[in-house]
């Protein structure tokens, strides 16, 4: 077969209407594209695709050290009827629905303001918003645990000063998830902000100048020029932060252990417990596959919503 290929391609012009041959010709013409992505493809095949395929297979198996046993859809049946998985899905979805738009909108607004500042001031703000991210998530969660402590924490201390509280931040199933979200909301999305600022750098000045001549207001310019041209970045952030939010783990692990009750149990926290406490990697894989499908669905939606072929 490979031997037959070159004459085929050579005579491709003659058989140009054959779609198979056309593709071959195109592949040959674009060989550089394949060369450029070859290292990445090799790495992904070896270190991502193989493990991912294995965990997909495990989702249909019962994990046994002596050799996995195919169990069909049993794992999925168990997971989908497990009320704890339902609760974890609800918590995770609620978290994502709040956090993803919040992070993107806030980052967009802050970046839009910051870009008007001088270089030096801008760099100060970038640092202030971004650098808190250098601390490890575990340590940050521990700081927040101290802030939320029901009896001696900072928040209840401040509330008691104005005669309010004590408020059961993490110690009530009705408020605990909200408190974990609040922690994410109060920390500005620094990474998003610097990415938006970098993307804004690329928007050509003359577009705004043309708009100025037309007498457009700043808000109009923002809406009609800045926003559409940032769409690729917004798409990136929407997809990446959706994946990140759906996979939230550390806060639940460090601050609440998924409690009280199951009020802060997230899907990945549950997967972690299923895999590393119960040693049921098949069940954990089934949970992961369901989460995967949900993330893919949301990402496709995001892609439809934000995808454009913009070019300045």
């Amino acid at each position: 077969m490979p031997g037959a290929m070159s004459p085929t391609v050579a005579s491709a012009r003659r058989y140009g209407r054959n779609p198979y041959l056309q593709t071959l010709r195109l592949i040959r013409k674009k060989k550089w594209a394949y060369v450029f992505i070859a290292p990445d493809i090799l790495l992904f095949l070896g270190f991502i695709v193989v493990p991912v395929v294995r965990s997909f297979m495990l989702a249909f198996q019962e994990f046994r050290l002596s050799g996995n046993v195919w169990v069909g859809l049993d794992n999925f049946k168990y997971v989908l009827t497990d009320p704890v998985f339902g609760a974890a899905m609800r918590n995770t979805a609620l978290y994502t629905v709040v956090m993803v738009p919040q992070n993107i909108i806030v980052a967009l607004l802050l970046a839009s303001i910051l870009r008007h500042l001088s270089e030096r001031t801008q760099s100060l703000f970038r640092a202030a918003y971004y650098l808190p991210g250098v601390a490890s998530a575990v340590v940050i969660s521990m700081v927040w645990k101290w802030i939320y402590d029901p009896n001696f924490g900072l928040f209840n201390f401040l509330l008691s000063r104005i005669g309010l509280g004590p408020y059961p931040w993490l110690t009530s199933p009705r408020t605990s998830l909200f408190s974990i979200m609040l922690m994410g909301i109060l920390a500005a999305p620094g990474g998003f902000i610097i990415l938006y600022l970098a993307a804004m750098k690329k928007i050509p000045r003359d577009l705004y100048e043309v708009a100025d001549i037309d007498g457009a207001t700043p808000i109009r310019k923002w809406w009609n020029i800045t926003l559409p041209l940032l769409k690729p970045t917004t798409l990136y952030l929407a997809i990446v932060s959706t994946i990140g939010s759906f996979q939230i783990f550390t806060a639940a692990y460090v601050m609440t252990q998924g409690g009280p009750g199951y009020s802060t149990t997230t899907v990945v926290y549950l997967i972690y417990n299923t895999a590393f406490r119960d040693f049921e990697f098949g069940l954990a894989s089934a949970q992961a596959v369901i989460l995967f499908l949900v993330i893919v669905a949301v990402s496709v939606f995001n892609f439809r919503r934000f995808s454009t072929d913009v070019q300045y």
Binding site: K145, N151, P168, T171, P173, G259
Partner: protein, 440 residues
């Protein structure tokens, strides 16, 4: 033609290799009588002195077994369990691991049963409770190393500040205990906010510390045969009610018990000194001792903690019952080579012998699991008084699904302790969820 010769040649070669391999495998073993090679040993970090004891013990074992090398890896508390899990799941576990006996490993057949290696003396020497705690499906899966129980720790300075007498010899009734906890709950600076609470506890999966109160009333989680949920029996409910009352009726326990983690309780006792008493394993003693030493050496300029231990208040059973997390043991992972298995088992027996336990168990702050180790805590200011309760210690049931049962119960009790559900409703819901695991 050519292929035929090749095939024959390769067959001859394979046969020769096989024979050679057999000879190589049989002869040295037969000649030396012993397996030689490297043993991979993992353990979780122990208190400094105990870790030193371990290294010395490994060296001693190497000396007495020429040709055997021990390759030791110290796991970390953060992530160590996951490292072991991944290694076991990938089919590449160490040969032996301290605290490596986990029920899923047993069910997955990752461990070697130790029964063939237990002599009649061993069976007589180990405490029955210690052996029971490593038994599942009729076999024993780890060499018991030490027994751990929970005990109450009391902050002596706070007792003095409130002029509350310490329980004599660490023994008290529920009334005496409750009275003390109420006295110890106070507003020090008069700002209308409670600064110190008597007791602090948390309800979390795997943390059975508060269950001492339930066991003291005669309550249990599962029936002895592990087939029935009995936490909703009146005696167990009485114990749960005591915990609940401390929070809600007498308000002498740290509020939010159902929503806190153990870190919160530890911080409240050691760092903010905002609770006068809490329950935890005796192993934690070494952490307090280290803290005080660090203060003395000036490494940290904090306050030394001045404490005593006490038993759980005696409930209606009148016995010095204690809860316990279980037994620390050395687990041997599946071995292909029987000769090597013999050596690994020998190492495990050596590490858990009466003599070894006598030396190392005090360094870990726990109790021996062999009678021949003697009373290691005689005369000890804190732990001598705990010794009697070791005999009555109640360990978590050795049920294959224990981790899940534990989670369901604790999550329901959390809601009950937070006042989100009545105790009765929580127990009813727990029972419904747990029974699924009890009747396969």
């Amino acid at each position: 033609m050519k292929a035929g010769i090749m095939r024959r040649a390769s067959r001859v070669l394979a046969l020769a290799l096989l024979l050679g391999g057999l000879v190589a495998a049989v002869v040295p073993a037969g000649a030396a009588g012993k397996w030689t090679g490297t043993l991979v040993v993992w353990d979780f970090p122990r208190p400094e002195a105990a870790a030193e004891w371990e290294l010395a013990a490994f060296k001693k074992f190497e000396e007495s077994h020429p040709g055997v090398k021990i390759e030791y890896t110290k796991l970390s508390w953060a992530g160590g369990g996951e490292k072991l899990d991944v290694a076991v799941a990938a089919g590449d576990p160490p040969d032996i691991c301290g605290s490596g006996l986990r029920l899923p490993y047993v069910l997955q057949g990752a461990l070697e049963p130790i029964d063939p290696y237990l002599t009649a003396e061993d069976l007589k020497d180990f405490y029955e409770g210690s052996l029971n705690a490593v038994t599942l499906n009729g076999k024993r899966w780890g060499w018991p190393w030490y027994n751990t129980v929970y005990t109450l720790y009391l902050n002596v300075d706070l007792f003095k500040e409130r002029r509350v007498p310490l329980p004599e010899n660490g023994q008290w009734t529920w009334r005496e205990f409750l009275y003390a906890m109420q006295q110890l709950t106070f507003d020090r600076d008069g700002d209308g906010k409670i600064d110190v609470y008597g007791f602090g506890f948390t309800i979390q999966p795997t943390y059975l510390q508060p269950f001492g109160f339930i066991y003291a009333e005669g309550g249990r989680i599962l029936s002895p045969d592990g087939k029935e949920f009995v936490l909703d029996k009146p005696e167990a409910v009485a114990g749960i009610k005591r915990l609940y009352d401390m929070v809600w009726t007498y308000k002498c326990a740290l509020p939010g018990a159902g929503g806190m983690t153990t870190v919160d309780v530890h911080n409240a006792f050691l760092n903010s000194r905002s609770i006068a008493a809490f329950a935890d394993t005796t192993g934690i003693i070494s952490a307090f001792t280290t803290h005080n030493q660090k203060v003395e050496k000036g490494e940290i300029q904090g306050q030394k903690i001045n404490l005593v231990t006490a038993g759980y208040p005696r409930g209606s059973t009148g016995l010095p019952v204690a809860a316990g997390p279980g037994v620390g043991s050395w687990a041997v992972f599946k071995q292909k080579d029987p000769a090597k298995r013999d050596v690994v088992m020998e190492l495990a027996r050596f590490l858990t012998s009466g003599k070894s336990q006598k030396e190392v168990v005090p360094l870990i702050g726990t109790f021996p699991s062999r009678k021949s180790a003697g009373n290691v805590w005689a005369g000890h200011p804190y732990l001598e008084r705990v010794a009697p309760s070791v005999e009555y210690a109640v360990y978590p049931p050795m049920h294959p699904e224990w981790a899940k049962i534990d989670e369901k119960i604790m999550k329901e009790l959390q809601l009950a302790m937070l006042g989100e559900k009545t105790i009765e409703a929580a127990l009813r819901d727990a029972k419904r969820q747990v029974e699924r695991f009890l009747r396969p």
